[in-house]
């Protein structure tokens, strides 16, 4: 699972670069996220704009990542593609996560 990270103030943005989070990759995704989330930022935003497909194992891994962040930190999701959004909606997990239409960019430095 290829994950790229970017820190913007109190926000840690994690961009999932692969096109799927499925049963074949869910354990690795969870383990990679566990390491990445050792960064101390209170907010973690997972950019899912490149992820076209997520199955129930992938969904379970995203839930697990939220739980391992603990009560003081939040996992937010951004830019869900249609099939991924459908899985979240049907399982009602869309009510559990804060879901953004796109990754919010912080103030740009003046050029």
């Amino acid at each position: 699972m290829d994950l790229k990270t970017e820190v913007q103030g109190d926000l840690l943005i994690v961009r999932a670069m692969d096109d799927r989070i499925d049963a074949a990759g869910a354990i690795q995704f969870k383990e990679d996220m566990r390491v990445i989330c050792q960064n101390p930022q209170p907010r973690v935003m997972l950019d899912l704009s490149r992820v076209a497909f997520l199955d129930s194992s992938g969904l379970g891994a995203v839930v697990a990542v939220m739980k391992l962040l603990g009560p003081g930190r939040r996992l937010e999701l951004a830019a869900l593609t249609p099939t991924v959004a459908k899985v979240f909606r049907l399982t009602r997990m869309d009510t559990v996560f804060t879901i953004h239409d796109s990754v919010a960019f912080g103030p740009q430095s003046a050029v």
Binding site: R20, A23, D55, V63, V87, M93, V96
Partner: protein, 153 residues
Amino acid sequence: MTVLPLARKAPSDVTKTATFRVTSTPIGVREALNSVLRHPLMTQLSDDARGTTEVVLAEALNNIVEHAYYGADGWIELRLTWRPRQLHCDVLDTGVPMPNNDLPEGLAQSVGDHKDLPEGGFGWFLIRHLTENLNYRRINACNHLSFQLKTEQ
């Protein structure tokens, strides 16, 4: 994974079939889904129908990998039949039978307390929610799951 290119014209040209032989591993399932989604008859469906098909087939196949063969070597046969407005799916394996020879209930998971959120158990709920005429039979030491997916509103 071996893909058998058995797409052929049925007597009626509105019904066509294809058979896929799937290696019972998570990677085998991923490769099979890739082959199914690239099949010429799948590319004619709406993006929504293709997405739903991928979700349902992924859950059905992964369930067999995890529970029927529970990680042991095995093959899964996936037969797809395109009919007007629906895709009929037959999934066969020779793993262990479903508990009580019946399909899991697939109840919706509770999403109440965050620390108790479920990390699994979504699969049969998704299959039941997205399919019609879901049926399971154990015949001659073979599991036979069948269901239909709407391909048009």
